[in-house]
């Protein structure tokens, strides 16, 4: 089974035919081994072994061996764990070319080189590739527990008590000790994460003037601005934010490499998505398809922005002045300097 993750090439103006025609949906070989509690007997169909809380797993693919590394772990600990891991499997791994796969968040720029060097010099392991894997949707979470219970909540609907589906339900938290912890993910308030600190350096936003047709997919580590429509059946996956200057009718996944979603948001001039995903939270659209007259009052009729609030995705109108002229809702997300 070969890796079908497609990262947008650096100089993309119009992605070529092969990249867009692949209609791969969610990668279903995704096993969230790094997010499972450690019992020592993590046996998943693909993992050839996990180490130290599943920080490092290895699996075989059609292209060769892939080492999955949890990028949230502190570099020193990760290195240590990696060394342990490789030594334990020396016979099996020696002379191989491996691909590195980072999950959880993006690794520091120099770190990937450090690891590659380490593997080459100490263990004679050639690193043939290094990719950041977007989160996708853990396969066993979807199925009978398909997100029927997670409904895009308009802010006003939140009080109606609809039970949201959190993909953390039923998945035990990673058991990592204090020295490796980056803080309790449940308590991180993505809204407080200083947008400029995190995002300014990688503010590479890919800008595309394109209408994505059904079956086409774009994936990038950066933020994505699409001037055009995203039709039903198309997918947009971004490590950053997603801005659609048109109608969003397909599936959009923002903050796709960060399990908290990183405070990312999805904006569209006409938000009628099939599904929205931010980090690991997934919600379906409330598009009422029985009614064909879409000029009715159900759509606020303007630009909307979706973000994570707790374990739910909340959609709010983008340009709304509160009574008495208070600032628009979107500035409360910490975007502009006005607070």
């Amino acid at each position: 089974m070969s890796d079908e993750t497609i990262l947008l090439p650096e100089n993309a103006s119009l992605p070529d035919n092969t990249a867009l025609s692949k209609s791969t949906m969610v990668p279903t070989d995704h096993q969230p081994t790094s997010f499972k509690a450690v019992t020592g007997n993590t046996t998943t169909a693909n993992a050839m072994g996990a180490d130290r809380g599943g920080i490092i797993t290895a699996r075989g693919t059609g292209d060769g061996l892939v080492l999955r590394l949890d990028a949230r772990v502190a570099p020193a600990s990760l290195k240590e764990a990696l060394v342990e891991f490789v030594i334990a499997r020396k016979g099996f791994l020696s002379g191989q070319a491996v691909a590195l796969e980072w999950v959880g968040s993006k690794p520091e720029p120099g770190f990937v080189d450090e690891i590659s060097l380490l593997l080459k010099e100490e263990f004679d392991l050639e690193v043939r590739a290094s990719n950041v894997r977007h989160l996708g949707v853990p396969a066993r979470e979807v199925g009978n527990r398909a997100p029927d219970s997670a409904v895009l909540g308009r802010a006003a609907d939140r009080d109606k008590g609809e039970k949201p589906l959190s993909l953390f339900d039923g998945v035990e938290m990673l058991n990592i000790d204090e020295s490796m912890s980056l803080g309790d993910p449940g308590k991180t308030d993505p809204l407080k994460a200083n947008v400029f600190d995190n995002n300014w350096d990688e503010a590479d936003a890919r800008f595309l003037q394109i209408t994505l047709r059904s079956g086409q997919k774009i994936e990038t580590e950066h933020s994505l601005v699409i001037m055009g429509d995203v039709n039903s059946g198309a997918e947009v996956i971004a490590g950053g934010d997603i801005v659609v200057l048109g109608s969003l009718r397909g599936v959009a996944h923002a903050g796709a490499y960060d399990e908290t979603g990183g405070g990312r948001s999805i904006f569209a001039l006409d938000l009628q998505p099939t599904q929205l995903r931010i980090g690991l939270v997934i919600s379906r659209g409330t598009g009422d398809r029985t009614k064909t007259d879409r000029s009715g009052p159900e759509q606020p009729g303007g630009a909307e922005i979706a973000r994570v609030d707790g374990n739910m995705i909340v959609v709010e109108p983008y340009l709304v002045r509160g009574s008495k002229g208070s600032p628009p809702a979107w500035t409360r997300f910490g975007f502009g300097k006005k607070k």
Binding site: L14, N17, L20, S21, S23, Q209, I210, T211, L212, R213, S214, G215, Q216, M227, G228, D229, N231, S232, G233, S247, R249, R289, K291, T292, D293, R294
Partner: protein
């Protein structure tokens, strides 16, 4: 089978593939009807059935008893193309190259089909290729060698989504698509039970070349083996005739009863 006009000059041929993605939306009907309508206007037309294994174009034209050789035979050089091509019953300008019924779609590939079609360019003004449903080898074969495409859809969400997919694939091949909306029922549109032309255009955003109303005469015509354009009373037949005129370059405004001006709703193709 000489398409030279009076002073011996060759006229240019346009190869158009009629496709949809979704099955059952009216590709074969459209191919037969447009072929017949163009022939009535004096053009030399070949309609090619590319739906190998599930051929229908011959039935719609009433020529199923006359088939001896077919597209696969021509592609594999078992016979010459003029041995396989059949003249239609009612018109001296309309010809059919039928498909094989006993093979399946993988029996020929794109190069073979393109070679056959290119060899026929000299003989005709229009070659309409009836594509099978789907996006696999049959569709790819039908698109090979096409200069432009006609996408047929009905105003229903599954059909529109499939059409959208096909538009994306055709754009990637560099084939320019135009849209035919089939089986629209303006009463249902007014009641809000059916998507309107504007709704469909909102999603697909390509040049609209025709809107065909739902018409019982089409079913009758299919069973009788006579394309609906020969029936003067049929609204669908009249609509197909208008599409044929537009294919010839005539400027005919869309006649709609929903009142919206459609001439402004042209290409929104971001490329």
């Amino acid at each position: 089978m000489n398409s030279r006009n009076g002073n011996g000059k060759k006229s240019e041929c346009e190869i158009i593939v009629v496709t949809s993605g979704k099955g059952g939306v009216g590709k074969t009907t459209a191919t037969a009807s447009l072929g017949a309508a163009l022939a009535i206007k004096g053009k030399r037309v070949l309609v090619v059935d590319a739906d190998i294994g599930l051929r229908n174009l011959d039935v719609i034209l009433g020529l199923e008893n006359r088939i001896v050789f077919n597209l696969v035979d021509v592609a594999k050089n078992i016979c010459k193309s003029n041995q396989a091509i059949i003249k239609s019953k009612k018109s001296n300008n309309l010809f059919l190259l039928p498909a094989s019924q006993t093979d399946d779609k993988d029996v020929v590939d794109e190069e073979e089909v393109k070679a056959v079609l290119d060899g026929l360019r000299r003989e005709f003004n229009f070659i309409l290729v009836d594509s099978p449903a789907g996006i696999e080898q049959g569709f790819k074969n039908a698109c090979s060698g096409a200069d432009s495409a006609l996408i047929v859809t009905t105003p229903e969400i599954p059909a529109i989504r499939d059409a959208d997919r096909v538009i994306g694939l055709l754009s990637a091949k560099g084939i320019e698509p135009r849209l035919i909306i089939n089986r629209i029922d303006y009463d249902m549109v007014r009641r809000g039970d059916m998507l309107s032309v504007a709704d469909v255009q909102d999603i697909l955003g390509i040049e609209l070349i025709g809107v065909i109303e739902r018409d019982e005469n089409i079913i009758v015509a299919a069973n009788c083996g006579e394309p609906v354009v020969y029936n003067q009373k049929s609204k669908a037949g009249q609509a197909f005739s208008r599409v044929a005129a537009r294919l010839c370059g005539e400027q005919i405004p869309m006649s709609t009863t929903d009142g919206s001006g459609l001439l402004g709703r042209l290409t929104r193709l971001w490329a």
